[in-house]
């Protein structure tokens, strides 16, 4: 399998808001093709860190390189067109059909040919029926809308996907479904993905590397297996304890019956 996704390198990256250090001197290497989960409580700085990668947030200091190229040397809109971005509130354009929503990146890039074919391909990819193409966003369920969000992000064939709580607002069944399907997609397309979530269970299931953030710093950096086995720090342990306790409770319930 060829990885088309780039590697990412952050060096002493900080973002300060007045007196708050949302991200505090983070240095990090992310290998091409990896699926990294950023986990932490609200306000831990995980979204800010993610948004600095596509310059939706500008760093106070430090550098980010994507595939060796420093992001500040690229115009923000050019940079963002190379990166897929999916977020919790989806943000489909309510005045455009699903097909146009999906193809908007191609429209911006001035690609006129084969847009319809690409839309059909992407609908298949996110497992939506073709007749959705002509519908308007408000005619779709939340889960369907986020599938469109993923398809829209993938339309321009980016190597890097940034996902900010992408499935956070969906019901558990839809969410589980989408998580699983996205994991397959990530592998099939050879993407590099950074996904922000506050749900440790999701991170453990989805990612091949989990970063735990607290107060703007990375407190733990481990594989899911290492996290579950413990000894990776108190912050990580507190987050892992929740799904672990839930799992234990479920198992205990199963034994009783």
């Amino acid at each position: 399998m060829q990885f088309s996704g780039p590697s990412i390198s952050m060096h002493r990256l900080s973002r300060h808001y007045a007196t708050v250090r949302a991200v505090d001197s983070v240095s990090l290497e992310i290998a091409a093709g990896s699926l990294v989960a950023l986990v932490g409580l609200s306000g831990s700085g995980k979204s800010t860190l993610l948004k600095m990668v596509n310059r939706l947030v500008e760093p106070t200091s430090g550098t980010i390189r994507i595939g060796g190229e420093p992001v500040e040397s690229i115009d923000p809109h050019v940079l963002r067109r190379r990166i897929g971005y999916v977020f919790q509130n989806i943000g489909l354009f309510p005045h455009m059909t699903i097909a146009r929503n999906i193809a908007i990146g191609l429209e911006l890039a001035g690609e006129k040919d084969r847009r319809e074919g690409r839309v059909a391909e992407l609908l298949d990819l996110v497992e939506l029926p073709q007749e959705m193409a002509a519908r308007m966003p408000d005619q779709l369920s939340g889960g369907q809308q986020q599938r469109v969000g993923v398809a829209r992000a993938l339309a321009t064939r980016p190597g890097l996907m940034l996902m900010d709580e992408p499935f956070g607002a969906l019901d558990p069944v839809t969410r589980d479904n989408l998580t699983e399907q996205y994991k397959a997609l990530h592998q099939r397309l050879g993407l590099t993905t950074i996904i922000v979530t506050h749900d440790m269970a999701e991170a453990l299931y989805l990612a091949d590397r989990v970063l735990v953030m607290e107060a703007g710093r990375i407190r733990a950096d481990a594989t899911p297996a290492e996290l579950v086995s413990g000894n990776v720090g108190a912050e990580a342990e507190a987050l892992v304890a929740i799904p672990r306790a839930q799992a234990a409770h479920l198992i205990a319930l199963g034994k009783k019956s």
């Binding site: 940079l79 190379r82 943000g91 309510p94």
Partner: protein, 511 residues
């Protein structure tokens, strides 16, 4: 159809055309100002705060005052750059109405643009849209229904407020309303109101159709609405596009005598083969400037008015000498020809009820001064600010209990009913004699004389044919004839239109 309606409807097409042209221009100009400003304001809260504060401030100025303000403003500006700007007619009306239309358009556009769903905005950024693309693909389409709603509000306001542009000499449906109000011709008032209301409703419905088309993303609906508006605009303004050369424009201030004299002059000119147009309801201050600028060609003014207002004189001269001085002054200062005095005077005259005159033995202004502290004074809206009032007060120790301003139409009934005890009437007004009111003598000659005089615009003075057509009117109209003609229009029963009264007067002159 009765003749009153026929007469009113005959004037509608031209006035409607002018009304549509003015309102549409103002609305378009306001949009051109507001939409870019709103885009800027949506990105900068400071700009939004300042722009909306200014627009709101403008909105608190009454429409009539805003129009009036532009007159001296443009006059000053014109003087500053050495002339060339007309302070009269279309321009001041356009500017005032444009300012008036700013607030609803600006406020809705800013609300619409800043109210775009933050998720859609974040998605636009995340997809790599430039600021311009974001505006084009996301912000403008999402804000469009709100912006359209603002334009709708502005359109209705503008069409309504455009009726006020009559006062600065811009023809509009307001001409019917103002003329009707002055002559108590309710048919005219009603026609003016009905047509401006119908215009506002029609435009509102069509803009509503476009708004709905945008909101529900039904392109056909938006296109149909736009096409209908464009068609309406074209049809409505058609009468203005028909070439009109050598039309003589006759000005009139806002009272019956002026309307009648304008029609009398008009009929004489039509007999001489001219085409004529009327600009009614002009303010005293505006009308002379309009003549010097050539915006109107002929009108009747009063010697005392020019003496105090235009010439800024506060001394007194005998009648004949005064007329000579005025004729010389208008010619040398503005090239305006004074064709001559019509033969009657319309001076400010203090009038009281006959029973008061008898019981309190009131004959002169000195007698009035004696009882003034018990008297309520009724006057027209401008008299208390006029120099004549200062002259009277300087000559006689008059101190009234209180003073109330009326539209001239309501001043006479107010005296009759006892609401007020003395009024500043006009000596040629037919309602003085009709009510047996007693005019108090000005024995000290404090008030200058108010001979009716006919004035011609600079480039009309040399038009021999026109001068020949109007010359017979000089010295021909006695105060009795004028009073009778005025009363025909002003009285409550068996009311005549100014045109009918002018025809009657014309027939009398030919006898």
């Amino acid at each position: 159809m009765n003749p009153a309606w026929q007469q009113a409807l005959a004037r509608v097409p031209e006035l409607l055309a002018a009304h549509v042209q003015l309102s549409f221009s103002a609305l378009l100009l306001a949009m051109l100002i507001c939409l870019p400003l709103a885009i800027w304001a949506a990105r900068s809260p400071k700009v939004a705060a300042v722009a909306l504060a200014v627009a709101s401030l403008i909105q608190t100025i009454p429409g009539l005052a805003l129009l009036a303000l532009f007159y001296p403003l443009l006059l000053g500006l014109s003087a500053l750059i050495g002339g060339g700007i007309s302070a009269f007619g279309f321009l001041p009306a356009l500017l005032a109405l444009t300012l008036y239309a700013l607030l609803p358009i600006l406020r809705n556009a800013v609300t619409g643009l800043t109210g775009v769903d933050p998720a859609a905005s974040e998605a636009a950024d995340g997809l790599g849209m430039t600021a311009w693309q974001k505006l084009q693909y996301v912000e403008a389409p999402l804000a469009a229904p709100t912006i359209m709603a603002g334009i709708r509000t502005a359109a209705v306001w503008t069409i309504g407020a455009a009726t006020l542009s009559t006062t600065v000499g811009q023809p509009s449906l307001g001409d019917l309303i103002f003329a009707g109000l002055q002559t108590q011709n309710w048919t005219l008032v009603l026609a003016g109101c009905l047509f401006s209301a119908a215009l506002a409703i029609a435009v509102d419905l069509l803009l509503g159709l476009i708004e709905r088309g945008i909101r529900e993303r039904r392109r056909i609906m938006a296109i149909a609405g736009t096409a209908l508006i464009a068609a309406g605009l074209l049809i409505a303004t058609l009468p203005l596009m028909i070439a009109r050369d050598n039309v003589v424009v006759i000005g009139a201030k806002s009272f019956s005598e002026q309307y009648i004299l304008a029609r009398l002059i008009g009929s004489r000119l039509e007999d001489a083969g001219y085409r004529v147009r009327y600009r009614d309801g002009l303010g005293s201050a505006v009308v002379y400037q309009a003549l010097t600028a050539g915006d109107i060609d002929v009108y009747v003014d009063y010697s005392g008015t020019l003496w105090t207002n235009q010439m800024q004189r506060s001394d007194s001269q005998p009648k004949a000498a005064m007329l000579d001085t005025i004729a010389q002054w208008t010619r040398t200062s503005h090239g305006v020809t004074m064709l001559g005095a019509l033969g009657f005077e319309n001076a400010y005259a203090f009038a009281v009820r006959p029973e008061d005159a008898r019981d309190k033995s009131l004959r002169t202004l000195d007698d009035l001064a004696r009882v003034s502290s018990d008297f309520n004074f009724g006057t027209d809206v401008e008299f208390l600010e006029r120099p004549e009032w200062q002259m009277v007060r300087a000559a006689y120790p008059i101190r009234f209990k209180n003073a109330r301003a009326f539209n001239p139409t309501f001043m006479y009934p107010a005296l009759k009913s006892g609401e007020v005890d003395v009024i500043s009437a006009f000596s040629s007004d037919g309602r003085i004699a009709a009510n047996n009111f007693v005019v108090l003598e000005d024995r000290k000659g404090a008030v200058p004389s108010y001979e009716a005089i006919m004035l011609l615009a600079p480039d009309r003075g040399s038009d021999d044919q026109l001068v020949a057509a109007l010359n017979p009117l000089v010295g021909a109209i006695t105060v009795e004839l004028m009073r009778e003609a005025n009363y025909m229009v002003d009285r409550r029963d068996d009311k005549k239109t100014p045109r009918q009264a002018a025809r009657w007067l014309n027939d009398k002159l030919k006898e």
